[in-house]
């Protein structure tokens, strides 16, 4: 194309700017994490990541991630179906509230749970009588994780369902299919890749959440420390090798997520096209 040839110089200048930018901001940190994690050799790396407290932190992170994914998947499916397939009053308000958790500072997310379940809340005596502790304990960590990843799945599903329209569902409903059949046979095939990607993204964010969890965690080593909190602890104790070794685990998950994203997006495109 003629225009492309003309812009040849511009093209390579822009590409170079982008590559330098990405290399400095995104790639260099990754390399740095790995090089620091391994700077004392493989054996100290393995020792760092198999440390009792590291493993416990990782397990707690997985637990919180599991709950966040399950709750947000259920929510995402119902919410996106509801928003995209029906017209009702208050739909815009509903969408706004669903997206709210992403724009709220994670620290504030933590704060609102403290205000809800903390000592000064009217819920506190009731929960205390039942022996349930939420803040500075595992349930708080799980709630905070759900909150910060709340819209991740519905946000992936809504654009796909909106683009698909409601004709197919209406056609099926006119033939007498029930809600479950319509969802399973008609809607679900459209969203399966987007759903999978949403789950992957939600899991990645859930694993890495720091601020909100930091507010709600009691910072008890081996009890209420998630992996990111454990990393902070090591870092502040000047155990950089340990901190970066644990970081490398989360980093590998992040990279897997990015690769999955590309694959899932391609799958989705291929099926739609």
């Amino acid at each position: 194309m003629k225009t492309q040839k003309k812009g040849g110089a511009v093209k390579w200048i822009l590409i170079t700017i982008c590559v330098i930018f990405l290399a400095v901001f995104l790639i260099l940190p990754l390399i740095y994490i790995l090089s620091t994690a391994f700077r004392d050799g493989i054996s100290s790396y393995i020792k760092a990541v198999t440390d009792e407290y590291a493993v416990k932190a990782a397990l707690l992170t997985l637990k919180a991630t599991f709950f966040a994914v399950v709750i947000n998947t259920i929510f995402g499916l119902f919410a996106s179906w509801c928003i995209c397939k029906f017209t009702f009053r208050g739909k815009k308000v509903l969408s706004t509230f669903i997206d709210l958790p992403v724009t709220v500072s994670p620290i504030i997310a933590g704060l609102i749970y403290i205000l809800t379940f903390g000592r000064q809340s009217f819920l506190y005596p009731i929960l205390d009588d039942m022996g349930i502790q939420i803040i500075f304990a595992v349930p708080g960590i799980i709630l905070a994780t759900i909150f910060v990843t709340f819209p991740f799945i519905s946000r992936e599903l809504i654009p796909v369902l909106t683009a698909q329209g409601t004709d197919e569902e209406e056609a099926a409903a006119l033939m007498g299919a029930n809600a479950f059949t319509i969802f399973k046979n008609i809607t679900f095939p459209h969203i399966k890749w987007a759903l999978l990607y949403g789950i992957v993204l939600c899991a990645a964010r859930a694993m890495g959440e720091f601020g909100a969890v930091s507010v709600l965690s009691g910072h008890l080593r081996g009890k209420t420390n998630t992996l990111p909190l454990y990393i902070e602890l090591l870092y502040q104790g000047y155990d950089f090798t340990g901190a970066f070794a644990s970081s490398s685990i989360l980093m590998i998950f992040a990279i897997i997520v990015l690769i999955l994203r590309v694959i899932l997006e391609q799958r989705g495109k291929k099926e739609r096209g």
Partner: protein, 279 residues
């Protein structure tokens, strides 16, 4: 009432709205309400005292100014990145496209500590800037800005990219045929089309940056009056169990975020109105 009459043929509205509202209430609405309830109990003078302390005021300034600069950088870089990804073919394009979302996927704390170590005066990048220009990055506002650039870049790219893909090639070709040079075509034909998306990406990145904690707290150094960010002030009050002050500062931050998002919503509806012709 009308309710029953306006139902859709597609079954399952009741249950899906029910489940949606239940989970939304439990996770988002009730905790938010408790914030409102708790704020209502604050006395006005305590509120003013909590949010106008010199240290708190300077933390707002640090948060907003660094977030603003970082988001402006992101708006420009995001546009260039989106442009390069949509318009050009080059080896490694898939890799670039994939890695844009790294800041979404990489835990903020991990990003925070690695950016800090890279930019200290003896870090890989920091030593370069310190030895040649005498600029310190880590533990300064420059460092905070750098961390916020990292956090915010995907917001702009992912907002602009799909819009840029949809820009009608025929409009561009028409402009070219009418004699516009590529620069004019970009400014007059393409840029107005992607401006709303750019603004939207900018405001999202801005709002997110003001509240960002994990990636900033390590690189900031947290020197009072200089590099303390607003979320850190909330955190500090929480650690002293001073929920009243923490809530007051949080309320101000929420108002700021709300204002930013409202301005965006207003600009978006203006742009939409202009395009759809509903003046």
């Amino acid at each position: 009432m009308r309710r029953k009459k306006s139902r859709s043929v597609i079954p399952g509205f009741g249950i899906s709205l029910g489940v949606t509202l239940t989970i939304l209430s439990l996770i988002v609405l009730i905790p938010l309400c408790s914030l409102v309830v708790f704020s209502a109990k604050l006395s006005f003078s305590d509120f003013i005292r909590a949010v106008t302390g010199a240290r708190v005021l300077s933390s707002y300034y640090v948060s907003i100014s660094t977030a603003l600069i970082a988001s402006l950088i992101n708006a420009v870089m995001g546009l260039i990145l989106a442009w390069v990804l949509v318009r050009y073919d080059f080896p490694g394009k898939r890799l670039v496209d994939g890695i844009i979302e790294l800041p979404f996927a990489l835990p903020t704390a991990v990003a925070g500590i690695s950016l800090t170590h890279l930019t200290t005066t003896n870090g890989w990048v920091g030593s370069f800037f310190y030895n040649i220009f005498g600029i310190k990055i880590a533990y300064t506002r420059i460092g905070i800005t750098a961390a916020l650039v990292f956090i915010g870049i995907p917001f702009v790219v992912r907002a602009v990219q799909p819009v840029l893909e949809k820009v009608d090639h025929e409009c561009e070709e028409a402009a070219m045929l009418l004699g516009a040079d590529p620069g004019t075509t970009f400014r007059k034909v393409i840029f107005p089309e992607i401006l709303p998306a750019m603004i939207s990406g900018f405001t999202l990145a801005f709002a997110r940056s003001i509240g960002e904690y994990g990636s900033v707290v390590f690189i900031a150094g947290n020197t009072p009056y200089k590099t303390e960010i607003a979320p850190l002030m909330i955190m500090a009050q929480l650690q002293e169990y001073d929920y009243a002050s923490a809530t007051s500062i949080a309320l101000v931050m929420l108002v700021i975020a709300f204002l930013i998002l409202s301005v965006n919503a207003f600009l978006q509806s203006m742009a939409a109105r202009r395009v759809s012709g509903l003046a």
